[in-house]
């Protein structure tokens, strides 16, 4: 039986190879889903934490537990409880503790020097603290480390640089803490023996940086315990803070939900002053992560489903074809007395063998796919990037097993029907061609109608879709499925149309057709059944290719365009300006002059214009303003942008398509009158301003500038019409944003020179600004670099996963198409070898036979490509506007447009063309090898 099976497989090597390819792809893609998901989520999680550190400058892998004890009260129970909790809390949450720091302090107290120094007579607010492990994380700037014992009734301490300066200390200065009485009833004396700072710039130990400890005198923890703690009868008010650290890089995406839940439990439970669990910094980071995780997981699955279904269909069709060839043998076996179950067992064994062989190849191939996904930079575009950490786990095995079971089922399924056939039935049925069920009941047309209904229904609910996506929900999977359904059903419906087209061409040209063309038309028209299989895959390849490339290009291009618009220019920053604010606030030693106004010293702006790498620069003043004419109760947010029209026009990035006229026309209008302003369109539509109206706006100090309205705009560099925010109830709130664009010189004339943004147009690279900032110690309060943000977009897991999967799906379909194409043509040629022999015997040239095949190609493959292209373009037009909503963010300002780039199409058709060409070459080789006499089976005697 096994020999029968092996012989069978060897005989149909092309089909077996196709089945193997189908199985390998199916299992590999199924396995790559959890692999890629886990690896990319891991990366996303790490990046979320990394971004947090970059923005906040704080290590997020820490939880803090607080407690306090009050003097003369027996309230030590909370303190002990929290002390114990600190040991177990991380483990309980599900995190691995790496380190623990305990900080304990007395309350702030008045402390004064007892040295009698003339320049330090005042008392300062200070407190005594201790921090475990401090000695390993500091370097002493002056003096020495404290001693751990009390010497002559004096406790030794070290202070931060900030404390040292603020309290105007000198080394070995002894401070008397007037409010803290020792056991002897005298105030505690602390001698400052050293000044420290952090030993390393980035040290997670310093949850707060040393400079934040501006009042603390750090003493030895053991000494603190001995001196200030007595859990039976507490003599001092103390506050304790335990920091527990964990390595956030070790946190698994799968554990995030659990960690969040447990943490929230602790935050809720311990919220009193004496027993408190602070809300950790990682909590919002992880909550955001869960939102994006849901989105990523849903996207990956939704995008992969169509290709998995297609693969199953492919495997089914190949098995079906193979079985068609084997019906004779099955019938024979059956007639010789094999039972149905025996025949099914043969096929079950065969299918299992194929699936298992595939699985062995598929696992490493899946891991490879996963890496390829991770390096996707666009559709059919890859870059070298730090590769994903791919791991095998039970999920991968489970997905793989599921794929194997499905595949075996799909391969064996067609046998059940055929296993009943005996040789007699077979001969009887052989010549009866029955249309498949789905064709008879017009299933394809029905599905097509359903998908078209889907388009209307989704367009109807577009607002709702946008709302759902913006409030963080994942998009309706039905939308993606609807798109797949549209492409597949349209492809099959088109098969009903193809013969009509061929027939029309045939009837028109029948009279003049050369014999080869004549024969090929009849071939196409009268043997449609088998071509369908190949054509469906070719149509789907082209349609999916176009659709996928459009989706990938559109979402990326929209995100990039939006970013360019939002940022306004290649580089936008605001320098730190020197001002006289120091003289505006009274201090101990200084009496402020009440008449003094806040003035800034304008740094030399022209130095940016001269930097190499800068094409042009512009000054842009941004200020929140109010308008006087506005009477409504609710405050509205209005901002002012002060610009110099010429430099602004040269520097800002702006898509001319966004405004009816070129932006320079607007700028010229603005520049024509110093008092002119341009307003955002909502001033007109909501606040009912018109051109020529007067408008008065005021800054925070109430200084009013009056101006004349010269024009309105819908879009303006960096202007967002609507600001979306999510309310506490979880609903989405839209806030209308108003913008006034005025001449900078006019604003500065009225309000003085205040810090403005500098916008730069670069000649491509932005590196120079980082170098310059480093060199000159430039400090920014705002900074954005469009080029760097662009890279971030491309690295975004959602975009990357989408691009990766779209590319992978396309390649898979391409492989299937290639296999289907070859199988069809090889079978078709093998079956027609005798016929070709007859043609040749009748005097047909080889070239005529090839031209006949080419003609067949044009009207089957060629037509399929055209049909596929039409379907792909239609699908893009209908679905991409809906799908891209899914990738939009609350920061979307520019209208979403469907984007096609010719380079994508060239690449797409290039790949398809090469594949068809390779197939044709293989076919040509097969054809030229046919010997007429052999084909005619004349040489058999």
């Amino acid at each position: 039986m096994i020999r029968f099976m092996l012989q069978k497989l060897l005989y149909k090597k092309w089909m077996v190879i196709s089945l193997l390819i189908g199985n390998i792809l199916l299992i590999a893609i199924a396995c790559s889903n959890p692999m890629y998901k886990n690896a990319s989520l891991q990366r996303t999680l790490k990046k979320s934490f990394g971004d947090y550190i970059e923005q906040e400058g704080v290590y997020p892998g820490v939880v803090a537990v607080e407690s306090a004890m009050t003097k003369d009260q027996s309230n030590e129970s909370d303190y002990l409880m929290m002390s114990e909790l600190s040991d177990t809390v991380l483990k309980d949450i599900g995190l691995e503790q790496t380190d623990c720091v305990k900080m304990i302090s007395t309350m702030k107290s008045n402390a004064a020097s007892i040295m009698g120094r003339e320049d330090n007579t005042k008392s300062h607010t200070m407190r005594i603290s201790s921090m475990t492990g401090i000695e390993d994380h500091i370097k002493l700037l002056a003096g020495r480390m404290y001693d751990t014992s009390v010497k002559d009734g004096v406790i030794e301490a070290i202070v931060s640089q900030k404390t040292f300066v603020d309290a105007n200390l000198i080394l070995d200065e002894v401070m008397e803490f007037k409010d803290e009485m020792g056991k002897d009833g005298k105030p505690v004396d602390v001698k400052v023996v050293g000044v420290f700072t952090n030993s390393e710039a980035e040290d997670s130990y310093w949850v707060k940086s040393p400079s934040d400890y501006a009042t603390e005198c750090f003493i030895s923890p053991e000494l603190f315990e001995a001196q200030f703690i007595n859990t039976n009868k507490q003599l001092y008010n103390v506050e304790a803070l335990w920091y527990m650290f964990f390595d956030y890089e070790k946190l698994e995406p799968a554990d995030v939900k659990k960690v969040v839940k447990n943490t929230e439990k602790y935050v809720d439970k311990y919220n009193t002053k004496t027993a408190r669990f602070d809300e950790p910094a990682y909590l919002p980071v992880l909550r955001d992560f869960i939102l994006s995780q849901n989105k990523i997981v849903a996207t990956l699955l939704i995008l992969q489903v169509p290709v998995l279904v297609l693969l199953c269909a492919f495997i089914f069709m190949i098995s079906r074809q193979m079985l068609d060839l084997e019906q004779n043998e099955i019938a024979l076996l059956k007639s010789r007395g094999s039972s149905k179950s025996q025949i099914i067992t043969i096929y079950l064994l065969q299918s299992a063998a194929i699936a298992l062989v595939s699985a062995v190849i598929a696992l490493p191939f899946g891991a490879f796919l996963c890496k390829v996904l991770g390096s996707a930079n666009g559709f059919l575009e890859f870059v070298h990037r730090g590769s994903l950490k791919v791991r095998m786990d039970w999920q991968v095995i489970l997905y793989g097993l599921a794929a194997i079971i499905v595949s075996v089922a799909v391969m064996v399924l067609p046998v059940f029907k055929d296993a009943n056939i005996t040789i007699v039935n077979y001969k009887q049925q052989k010549n009866k061609v029955k249309k498949p069920l789905w064709r008879r009941v017009y299933l394809d047309v029905i599905l097509f109608a359903v998908s078209v209904y889907g388009i209307y229904s989704f367009n109807d609910r577009k607002e709702n879709l946008i709302f759902r996506v913006l409030s963080g929900e994942s998009i309706d999977p039905m939308l993606f499925l609807c798109a797949s359904l549209f492409i597949i059903s349209a492809g099959i419906v088109a098969l009903r149309i193809q013969p009509v087209i061929v027939k029309a061409v045939y009837l028109i040209s029948k009279k003049f057709l050369r014999p080869a063309a004549f024969a090929s038309f009849l071939q196409i028209l009268r043997s449609r059944g088998k071509q369908r299989f190949m054509m469906v895959f070719l149509i789907l390849t082209v349609a999916l290719g176009i659709y996928n490339t459009t989706v990938a290009r559109t979402i990326l291009s929209n995100a990039e365009k939006n970013l360019e618009y939002k940022d306004g220019a290649d580089i936008v920053f605001k320098e730190v300006w020197k001002d006289n604010s120091a003289f505006l606030v009274s201090t101990a030693t200084y009496e402020a002059d009440e008449n003094l106004e806040l003035t800034y010293t304008e740094p030399d702006y022209s130095r940016f214009e001269g930097l190499s790498g800068v094409q042009s620069a512009a000054r842009v003043l941004r200020e929140d303003v109010t308008i006087s004419g506005y009477k409504e109760q609710e405050p509205i947010s209005i901002s002012l942008m002060g610009i110099n029209t010429k430099e602004f026009g040269e520097t800002a990035n702006f898509d001319p398509a966004l405004l009816p006229e070129h932006i320079n026309t607007y700028l010229n209008v603005l520049g024509s009158n110093m008092e002119a302003v341009l307003l955002s369109m909502n001033f007109h539509t909501i606040l009912e301003y018109d051109i020529g109206d007067k408008i008065e706006y005021a800054n925070e100090d109430g200084d009013v500038i009056s101006a004349v309205v010269y024009g309105f705009f819908d879009y303006w560099p960096s202007y967002m019409q609507t600001d979306y925010s999510i309310t506490d109830e979880g609903t989405l709130a839209e806030n209308e944003q108003y913008l006034i664009v005025a001449n900078l010189s006019r604003v500065q004339e009225m309000w003085g020179v205040t810090p403005y943004q500098v916008w730069l147009k670069t000649d491509g690279s932005s590196q120079f600004i980082y170098d310059y900032a480093e060199e000159t110690d430039l400090a920014f309060t705002e900074f954005s670099d469009t080029a760097a943000d662009m890279v971030d977009i491309r690295n975004n897991t959602l975009f990357q996963g989408t691009n990766g999967i779209l590319t992978m799906s396309f390649i898979v379909v391409l492989i299937l198409c290639c296999a289907g194409f070859l199988i069809y043509w090889i079978l078709s040629i093998r079956q027609r070898e005798l016929l070709f022999g007859v043609f040749r015997a009748m005097g047909m040239k080889k070239s005529e036979i090839i031209s006949m095949l080419i003609n067949e190609q044009i009207f089957s493959s060629g037509l399929s490509v055209v049909i596929g292209a039409v379907i792909g373009i239609l699908a893009s037009r209908f679905f991409v506007p809906l799908v891209q909503i899914f990738y939009s963010t609350t920061e979307q300002a520019v209208p979403l447009v469907v984007v096609n780039k010719s380079i994508d199409m060239i690449r797409l058709f290039g790949v398809i063309g090469v594949v068809i060409l390779i197939c044709m070459v293989i076919l040509a080789v097969i054809i030229t090898r046919i010997r007429i006499s052999q084909a005619l089976k004349l040489g058999e005697d």
Partner: protein, 229 residues
Amino acid sequence: MASIIETHNIVQSFPVSDGEFYALKNINISIPEKKMTILRGRSGSGKTTLMNLLGALDRPKSGSIIFGGEDITSMSERGREEIRKTKIGFVFQSVALIPIMTAYENVEFALRLSGYKGNRKERVLECLKMVGLLKRAGHMPEELSGGEQQRVAIARAIAHKPEIIFADEPTAELDSGTGLQVIRIFKELAQNEGITIVMTTHDTGLMGASDQIYELEDGEIVEKDKERE
């Protein structure tokens, strides 16, 4: 009597696992014009190989074949194609109708291929009438019986008015009654249309219809039954 084909010392061999297999050894025959010649022999005697060479489907290892005064063994492939197209008609053992074409189209296709100048429709119907299948012109091959199919094949072979028809075991898959019918058609063609017929067969019952018989055995002519009459 004039002969349309003459062979001179033709040898044909095929490579086999242990060297060369000589299918034909030094064959010298001549085919008389407008007569019916039978190549007789058992399976493997080389009769089909010989016919392939005569019909310009294959080239011999050595020797020459003179077809209508021209040596077709040294002729270009194009020239041979031209001869096959215009001067020769084939009828094969395994009925080799074009399955996607009706009986009518099968015959018409031969006309298209040979570039037949006259009224194609008329000629097709004439040929079908000759084999007695006018009523079945619109049927697909699979709807015809074996004998009917073979008769269509004959109609196709004669449609473009070839000088010679090669028929390889045309009756092998037919019952004897139908076989005789097919032979009768060939006979009539030779007599009424002046077409030369070369036919292979191992059916001794059909020999009576022929004008000349060559018997082959192991690649050699062992007997030539001289023109009867």
